[in-house]
């Protein structure tokens, strides 16, 4: 049997054989589609449903150099009981913190069911040797994190060294074992929707449980078209292989309206199956209070002063 010729350097992208063709994304059309979907008018019960879901899908996040045990404890308490005045408001999905604060978060969330996620792999830049990143991910799991949010090596990706990016994700996945792995693409640094799609498929092929837009450290992050492109990649993988990969837009979603628009995009791209915290999360810090305010408004018919919602 004839042997297939070796691929030239840069073309060694090792995708699972049954993954869909990589394909391309048309910028104008994908932005138009996202705009169309953002114009859906979601009212009354449909809105309340979406807001409640948004709370249950939230990864309440603090990733600052100035984070302290006190700050994280307050955040974790808020995660368990977001609105002390309304017991029907559910807990959020998880709190997301730096590795040094995992222990504090774990103690505070207790057995509430709220998960603790930690970033790893030289967050946010990813510019460290692979062995250090793998070690960090392993250590984060030892510290007790339920979920690990890693970053891809954008430098290697943009240099066309896809295989290195891929191998690194594979190694991190091995290191974290059964722990839930979210792979951050940092789409604001990838430059094109084509790259967002490639990076999404690459991360999924390497074993990501979730793909995530951003670190939250850039001004350009989880825009609606970027989210749509990633959801379409997830859909293609599902349709070809039956594998369900989750999605987490993070950064830039600051108000309830954006959250509802994002859920419409999920709903009309992947269907109701993805409307669950098992497959969709919002990474956010300031979003929660706006959602709580909107829930109170939907239930009572009037807006309340921001003073009635806790700052944590």
């Amino acid at each position: 049997m004839a042997q297939a010729p070796a691929l030239p350097t840069g073309f060694e992208l090792p995708l699972e054989p049954r993954l869909p063709r990589i394909g391309s994304v048309d910028q104008v059309a994908v932005e138009a589609r996202a705009t169309d979907l953002s114009r859906r008018s979601i009212k009354r019960e449909a809105k309340l449903f979406a807001l409640d879901l948004a709370v249950r899908m939230m990864d309440l996040t603090t990733l600052e150099g100035a984070d302290t045990p006190g700050k994280v404890a307050a955040l974790a308490s808020k995660a368990v009981r977001p609105d002390p005045a309304d017991a029907s408001v559910p807990s959020v999905a998880a709190v997301c913190v730096y590795p040094n604060l995992v222990q504090t978060a774990l103690e505070r969330v207790g057995d509430s069911g709220v998960k603790v996620a930690s970033v790893a792999t030289a967050f946010p830049s990813g510019q460290s040797p692979t062995d250090l990143k793998v070690a960090e991910a392993r250590r984060v799991v030892e510290l007790g994190a339920d979920e690990v949010d890693m970053v891809i090596d954008r430098g290697s990706f943009l240099a066309g060294r896809y295989a290195k990016v891929y191998d690194e994700i594979v190694q991190v996945k091995e290191a974290v074992g059964e722990t839930h792995l979210k792979v951050i693409l940092e789409t604001g640094e990838l430059g094109t929707y084509d790259n967002v799609r490639r990076a999404s498929l690459l991360a999924i092929a390497a074993g990501a449980d979730f793909i995530k837009t951003s670190t939250g450290k850039l001004s350009s992050s989880a825009t609606l078209p970027v989210t749509l492109v990633m959801l379409e990649a997830i859909r293609d993988v599902f349709e070809e292989t039956g594998r369900r990969v989750g999605m987490k837009p993070a950064g830039g979603i600051r108000n309830a309206k954006q959250a509802v628009q994002t859920l419409v995009v999920v709903h009309e791209t992947l269907g109701v199956d993805w409307l669950t915290p098992d497959l969709f999360r919002f990474g956010a810090s300031s979003l929660l209070n706006d959602v709580l305010m909107q829930i109170r408004k939907e239930k009572t018919g009037r807006y309340q002063s921001p003073d009635y919602f806790t700052l944590d």
Binding site: D26, A29, R40, E45
Partner: protein, 498 residues
């Protein structure tokens, strides 16, 4: 609303997320019980004494009584336009004409919500489209041609452009106000006066437009509106007009051309189409699916340039069709005034019957039909978005214009075959090409016999871009500088040199 089923301890999974209805209020529109013909700036009762009912196709409820103008009424309207032409409109300073067009454009923008609701009410199109497409484009057309009114010498240098006189204009029911704008704006910019007949089923936005003309203080008689069915149109064609502009079916267009032969009246026709939307295997697949949907389900497929024949490269046939079928399940069919509706009501019972007849023919000829599960309202005229696969070039559904939300899918293997199949139709209005390869777009555009060719998009319009057909899709161009030409006469002086 969302039924929740408990899964695990705290993760309820919705089995359904239904959007609550979000209807646009129709209170903004004030309808008269009975309308008149708009002649010399006044509403007048028809000499014929005949009226008919116009309805809301989504509920079949009557909206108002509309005059059926007879030949006598048409003659009066044409005389009014003739007088207005002679009394100053043709001799007015061009910048003066521009002033009125700018005013009309601005008033349309100010009253856009009112017009959008009325357009959806009388025509059945989703409010999303009348609000985001019809109204902005109609206003843009007036703005655009207002700009040309005092620059005709520059548009046609050394040709001494002059207005023709009275233009008789007949428009269809698919984009009532937008087609009115396409017709009236260039005619007035060029210095003509107008008698316009809106379509029988959708006269209301044209009648409300008369109110805009008054608000703009357009001199009486410059624009006259006569309503009625095909008989009124026939009378307008036969009347003492200098030019006829018609948008509608190829059948009627041919009859008009026969009627006008030898009369010296100028004619432009914008007729039917059976456009090929051509999908190459290197395209951006998900965006192509959006383009296919926009190409054929936009405005219920009541679009002369609709991408009604899908030509798919065989190598991506299966994944593309799977994606398309999946996308169809998310289309929301129903109340045109609901802001979340994607596909509204079919414009009339007559049109619904025509669609049903052709779809039945498609099934009989052996094509495979797919329709997504869909709850249709009980009253009104509705048709589920439909895809036919396994279609042969010889089937009626691949040849005839259906003018409804029905797509016929064919396949091809090479670019040459795509061009051959795309051109193998008596029509030639539009075409779409989907590929990542720029050179292939140009190669295809050179070979496709179609007036408009979209690349990696579909059904996009701009007043600056000329629109019109090849072959039996008509002749003459609307939009752009080209759109002025059918409304102008040119001196031969100075033309000999060039």
């Amino acid at each position: 609303m969302a039924e929740l089923e408990q899964r695990g301890d705290r993760t309820p999974t919705p089995s359904l997320w239904e959007y609550a209805s979000a209807p646009e209020s129709r209170d903004i529109v004030k309808l008269e019980e009975r309308y008149g013909l708009f002649v010399r700036g006044e509403f007048v009762q028809p000499a014929s004494g005949e009226y008919y009912e116009t309805i809301d196709p989504a509920s079949e409820e009557p909206l108002a009584e509309i005059p059926q103008a007879g030949p006598e009424d048409v003659a009066l309207a044409v005389q009014a336009a003739r007088d207005a032409f002679a009394d100053g409109w043709s001799a007015a300073a061009p910048a003066e004409r521009a002033k009125y067009l700018y005013r009309i454009a601005r008033i349309l923008q100010e009253r856009s919500r009112e017009f959008a609701v009325l357009e959806s009410l009388n025509g059945g199109k989703p409010i999303r489209e009348s609000r985001d497409v019809d109204l902005p484009l109609a206003a843009a057309h007036f703005f655009y041609y207002a700009g040309w009114a005092d620059k005709l010498e520059y548009a046609f240098p050394h040709r001494r452009p002059k207005p023709l006189g009275v233009a008789g204009q007949i428009i269809p029911w698919n984009f009532p106000l937008l087609m009115l704008a396409w017709k009236i704006a260039p005619a007035l910019a060029a210095g003509n006066t107008v008698v316009l007949k809106p379509a029988e089923t959708t006269p209301l936005s044209a009648l409300l437009f008369c109110d805009v003309l008054r608000q703009a203080e357009l001199p009486p008689g410059v624009v006259n509106i006569v309503t009625g069915d095909g008989r009124t149109g026939a009378a307008l064609v036969k009347a003492e007009v200098d030019k006829v502009a018609f948008t509608g079916s190829t059948e009627v267009g041919k009859a008009i051309q026969r009627e006008l032969a030898g009369t010296g009246k100028k004619l432009t026709l914008e007729l039917g189409g059976k456009a090929a939307n051509i999908i190459f295997d290197d395209c951006a697949l998900d965006q192509a699916v959006e383009g296919i949907v926009n190409g054929i389900y936009f405005n219920q497929g009541h679009v002369c340039c609709a991408g009604s024949r899908l030509l798919v490269q065989e190598s991506i046939y299966e994944p593309l069709i799977e994606k398309l079928k999946r996308r169809l399940t998310t289309l929301r069919v129903g109340d045109p005034l609901d802001k979340n509706t994607d596909v509204g009501a079919i414009n009339s019972r007559q049109q619904l019957e025509k669609i049903e007849e052709l779809v039945a023919a498609g099934k009989e000829e052996g094509a495979e039909i797919y329709q997504p599960p869909c709850r249709l309202p009980e009253k009104g005229y509705w048709f589920v978005p439909t895809v036919f696969t396994n279609v042969a070039q010889s089937y009626r559904i691949a040849q005839e214009e259906i003018f409804g939300p029905v797509l016929s899918v064919l396949t091809f293997r090479t670019p040459d075959e795509a061009v051959e199949k795309a051109n193998n139709t008596p029509y030639g209005l539009s075409a779409g090409v989907w590929t990542e390869k720029g050179s292939r777009i140009l190669w295809m555009a050179e070979r496709l016999e179609a007036g408009v060719i979209w690349a990696n998009t579909y059904n996009r319009f701009d007043p600056a871009s000329p629109f019109g057909g090849y072959k039996e899709s008509g002749f003459g161009r609307e939009g752009g500088r080209h759109g002025l030409e059918p409304y102008l006469a040119f001196d031969r002086v100075g033309a000999s040199g060039g």
